[in-house]
């Protein structure tokens, strides 16, 4: 049994606080504050968010300026011989940068939620579940082995279940929560199997030990592991074919959608792929498969987003699409651009969701529809400004942050081949199209079909200010590209480093901007030139609308597949009940009957007893003499 060097004494204060603060806040809130004053449950939690953000930024600066890193096993969890499952902490460029985004955006969304959920009776429960998720996300990012990552992966999924089904009185919310966790379960199975295979092959699952071994050696099962990891990422990061839970997850409150289903939880899958890149890059066909799936998801989701009317649904499909962009970038081999897009996406998508939340909150509804809004730029100017900035970023307009990250991926695509170029262009067009359609139809007009958001007013400061800060992040993110390249390379587990963000290139700039312009132009036409178009085509081409509504027929197919699985489960249940239970319950009856018959041997006559003895002796003799 190997003794693990290291221990808590070697952990620096910021890292300890990153775990200690949320745990302490959760315990205090749950046991002390909530029973006493439920309305103050968020206070320890907000304090914890502040501590977390400060520590994350501190750690990021250490990584950036001092090239600091940490991979520390803290103790053996399950040890047998040289098999080792340990728990520990890993801080490198990848985790530090994503952690910084998560902590800043997350902390601000916590503040936003204290205003958004103020009138909700489940206020305390919300904050506890929300912060539990936060803790799990931090744990996931700082894990140093696959098993530990799986633990937090599951915890994040569980928190998602709690929060999607937060308004559990609504049947749709319950079903959405169940769908989310079951679909994620399907993917989690892949991650678990991958971790177990790695454990069996290498006898431990620590990144620092496995990746160098994989790169230097050749192992048969590593290909399978790669595919399984991609399968897990497909479920968590909502790629085809397991994306369908994400649009329905909008049943949860807006802060949940903003933090979990836009900025952080869904990016865990991309994070997993980025973490595992040394492994995945050695598998022959896998990166290409990843790129194809990512591109396909991005384009298809983008097209569907153009046809949705619920504000949060549009953003949900947009999230799916942008996750597809990240996955597409990864598949092309560009880890740095994909992770950069993950970070910038976190900022601008959060802003978009929070603005949609402001609109819905202003209408005193859980969510808003394009029918109910229109011309809001006069009534909600602050929200309008923030939304526009984020929309420009999403559309990939220079000089906003989104441009730089999308540009990097587009750059890689342009060098790959015709299909990648086509994909890249289509992605650019569709994302610009749906976001500008949403921008124009919501804040300009109103068109004759819209109600124009009567009685709506601007959001209160506790909800507006966090949005503003995140918007600042969206603006400034573009400037940090160079620093990001330095950070992401720090602590890469294998000797072969990853490429930095590409340099500025005029051709990429041209292609990107023109695609965005095309998309924006089409949106302009839809919104201003023919204001009723968005409603008319639905009545003129109902087949097209139903096709788009059912995600090109994928949703009915999933329903069919689920029904098939349920039938299979029923058959298995019948077998269990009839055969297995029957055997188990029948055995005592058989034994008892045998016993009853056996009793008749003992007649009570001595002669019979002795006869049995002699006969037995004879039989034994025969057996022995054989």
């Amino acid at each position: 049994m190997q003794r693990i060097p290291g221990g808590f004494a070697f952990l620096p204060w910021p890292v300890i606080l990153l775990f200690a603060a949320p745990v302490a806040a959760l315990l205090v809130s749950f046991f002390i504050v909530r029973p006493a004053r439920p309305r103050w449950t968020h206070v320890p939690i907000l304090a914890s968010c502040a501590v977390i953000a400060a520590c994350a930024i501190w750690i990021l600066s250490l990584v950036l300026f001092q090239n600091w890193g940490l991979d520390l096993p803290l103790g053996g969890w399950m040890v047998a011989g040289d098999w080792l499952v340990s728990y520990g902490v890993r801080v490198d460029g990848l985790s530090a940068s994503v952690l910084a985004m998560v902590s800043i955006v997350g902390g601000l969304i916590h503040v936003y939620a204290s205003g958004y959920m103020a009138e909700d009776p489940g206020f305390a429960r919300f904050f506890l579940a929300f912060h539990l998720f936060f803790l799990a996300m931090i744990g996931l990012l700082l894990s140093n082995s696959y098993i530990q990552l799986y633990l937090f992966w599951e915890l994040v999924g569980f928190a998602s279940y709690l929060l999607i089904g937060f308004w559990w009185q609504k049947k749709t919310a319950r079903r959405a929560a169940l769908q989310a966790i079951l679909t994620n379960r399907l993917g989690d199975f892949g991650l678990f199997l991958a971790a177990l295979i790695l454990l069996a092959v290498f006898h431990n699952t620590r990144f620092a030990l496995i990746f160098p071994a994989i790169v230097n050696g050749h192992y048969a099962l590593v290909s399978l592991v790669g595919f399984l990891l991609f399968w897990a990422a497909t479920a968590k990061s909502a790629q085809f074919p397991l994306y369908f839970w994400l649009p329905d997850a909008m049943e949860g409150p807006t802060p949940v959608s903003a933090l979990m289903h836009a900025a952080t939880m869904v990016t865990a899958g991309v994070f997993l792929l980025a973490r595992s890149w040394p492994l995945i890059s050695t598998v022959p066909v896998l990166p290409d498969l990843i790129a194809v799936v990512g591109a396909f998801t991005a384009i298809a989701a983008g097209i569907v987003a153009c046809a949705k009317k619920d504000l949060k649904r549009i953003l949900a499909y947009s999230t799916v699409s942008h996750l597809g962009i990240m996955v597409f970038g990864l598949g092309l081999g560009e880890v740095a651009p994909a992770v950069y897009h993950l970070i910038t996406h976190g900022f601008f998508k959060a802003v978009l969701f929070l603005c949609a939340g402001n609109i819905a909150h202003g209408l005193h509804q859980p969510t808003a529809d394009l029918d109910q809004v229109g011309g809001l730029r006069k009534k909600m100017p602050f929200t309008f400004v923030c939304f526009t900035v984020a929309a420009l970023s999403l559309g990939g307009i220079w000089p906003f942050a989104g441009y730089f990250s999308k540009d990097a991926i587009l750059d890689a695509a342009l060098h790959r081949g015709p299909w990648a170029i086509v994909a890249g262009v289509l992605i650019g067009v569709t994302s610009a199209l749906y976001i500008f359609r949403m921008l124009f139809l919501t804040f300009f007009g109103p068109s004759p079909r819209q109600k124009g958001g009567e009685h709506i007013h601007e959001a209160e400061p506790v909800m507006a200010v966090p949005v503003g800060f995140i918007t600042l992040g969206t603006l400034l993110g573009g400037l940090l590209g160079h620093s990001f390249s330095t950070v992401i390379k720090s602590g890469w587990p294998v000797a072969q480093p990853i490429a930095a963000l590409p340099e500025f290139s005029w051709s990429t700039f041209a292609v990107g901007m023109s695609a965005a312009a095309v998309g924006a132009g089409i949106a302009w036409v839809i919104a201003f030139v023919n204001p009723s178009f968005d409603w008319e085509w639905r009545t003129k081409y109902p087949a097209l609308e139903s096709a788009l509504n059912s995600d090109f027929g994928w949703k009915p197919f999933v329903r069919l597949a689920t029904a098939g699985v349920v039938a299979l489960a029923n058959a298995a249940g019948f077998f269990d009940h009839a055969v297995v239970d029957g055997a188990v319950e029948g055995a005592p009856r058989v034994a008892g009957a045998a016993g009853e018959q056996g009793r008749r041997l003992a007649t009570g006559r001595i002669n019979d007893y002795v006869w049995w003895m002699l006969a037995g002796a004879a039989v034994l003799l025969l057996a022995v003499m054989r």
Binding site: R600, T603, G604, N607, V610
Partner: protein, 98 residues
């Protein structure tokens, strides 16, 4: 010669066993028991003369003594059954069964 001894021993032993199995009176069964032990004594005596083994001869004496003790115990048990007023037969001793 050996086979003859074993034939006699076996025959007597089988007779004794048959008496226990087939007879109903307890006294007859006791006799059968004694017969079985005595049959074995015959074989032992033959062999200790063949192997010139005096120790075994002493053992035969001990075995006879033990058989006698056993007979005593058996008779006292049969007597107890008789005293209880029951027939000294196996049919009357069939209450315990199953």
């Amino acid at each position: 010669m050996t086979w003859a001894v074993w034939a006699v021993t076996g025959f007597l032993f089988a007779c004794g066993a048959a008496m226990i199995v087939l007879r109903r009176q307890l006294l007859a069964m006791l006799m059968g028991l004694e017969l079985m032990i005595s049959a074995v004594n015959i074989a032992l005596v033959y062999y200790c003369s063949r192997y010139a083994d005096g120790e075994t001869l002493a053992s035969v004496l001990l075995i006879i003594a033990i058989a006698a003790a056993e007979a005593v115990v058996g008779l006292s048990l049969i007597l107890k059954v008789y005293e209880a007023g029951r027939e000294v037969e196996t049919e009357s001793l069939q209450e315990l069964k199953g």
